[in-house]
């Protein structure tokens, strides 16, 4: 049995939210609210709310990156300084804290930012192949809902979306 993906397009958020609420209320057989994907031109707080607890883990990477930055910074700087003993003195010690703190601060941010960005690219699944179901209207004002169903539920789903005022429905084989 092959699986199909369906994209239903809605005019604005209100019908989409209604549809999701309907799915949440298990009006659509075989589709759980956890499996649907909502595509929208902007981010809508209500949709987040309805879709429930979908975790975001970027901040953990950020934390680790920043932590790495600051520790790496310290050891990098002080090992460089400790191996370069002819460096300017000016009456200052070999491993001076004030300047190292400044540089560690910068390195904290540097690594923090970069890990955040890499984490974003990875976690948001930007490069992941997820079918071709897409419509250019999604970047104008329409909201799309993508569900994955078994072949036998295809008709049923279509009807469901049409019931909920979907403007357009596209489908593809998973």
């Amino acid at each position: 049995m092959s699986k199909y993906r369906l994209l239903a397009m809605f005019d604005g958020f209100d019908p989409a939210i209604d549809t999701i609420n309907a799915i949440k209320a298990e009006k659509l057989a075989g589709v759980s609210v956890d499996d649907i994907t909502v595509m929208s031109p902007i981010e809508h707080p209500d949709i987040d709310e309805i879709l429930g607890d979908r975790p975001v883990n970027i901040q953990k990477f950020t934390f680790l990156g920043a932590l790495f930055g600051v520790t790496f910074g310290f050891f990098f700087l002080s090992s460089a300084q400790a191996s370069f003993l002819v460096q300017p003195q000016g009456g200052k010690p070999v491993i001076p804290f004030p300047s190292n703190f400044v540089l560690m601060y910068e390195m904290l941010i540097f690594f923090g930012v970069w890990t955040t960005v890499f984490a974003f690219l990875w976690m948001s699944g930007l490069f992941r192949k997820r079918g071709t179901l897409y419509s250019e209207k999604l970047t104008v004002d329409q909201v799309g809902i993508v569900v994955e169903v078994e072949e036998h539920q295809l008709e049923n789903t279509r009807a469901f979306f049409n019931d909920h005022n979907a403007l357009e429905i596209r489908e593809e084989k998973a």
């Binding site: 990098f76 090992s79 460089a80 400790a82 191996s83 370069f84 003993l85 002819v86 690594f111």
Partner: protein
Amino acid sequence: MQFANRTSLNNAAAVSIRRLQAKLVQCGKPFYLLMALAVMALLPLTAMAELPVPSHITPPPGEHEGEHVPQPIEFPHDRHVKDMKINCMYCHTYARRSKVAGIPPTSKCMGCHKVIATDRPRIQKLTEYWEKGESPRWKKVHDVPDYVHFTHEKHIRKFVFDADFPVEDVQQVCGVCHGEVREMTVAEKKKPLNMGFCRRCHEANGGPGDCWKCHK
């Protein structure tokens, strides 16, 4: 100095970077600026990629592909050193007394060659110079930049006289920087003689690390 002695692989990289630099220099200044920008962007990655490796290697690694330098007289080092077993400092007599090793005065050459091998074309050329009262204008093969202060005298003292190294084998010491001169006719530059080369040797052999020891 702990950061360190790179492996020969790294050194090869350094050599190629130097070549690249030289090429860029030929290309012109904008490339230099571009390179600086590029390095600026990539800097922290570089730092992560090449963390220090410890090592104590004597003599320092490093090779250099020297060019053949045409000299007024094709002086056969191999003949003198290998076959005749003449000590380097017999001719390069200032090495133990001065910054420079010195080219032997023409009188020194003539000291032997008034009688030895006078029929050879190279010796005849030498005799010609001698009779004119001139010295040949030799081309410098081993050179360091003008901002470098290098003294032969100190190195010879440390590695030969203070170390009780047999003076007749001094070629081995000289060879650390000058390569196997006894295998060459005209001397060629076989060691990079750049700062990394000097520094690695100074680290491995307890030489001074003060900038002003070697820079002037």
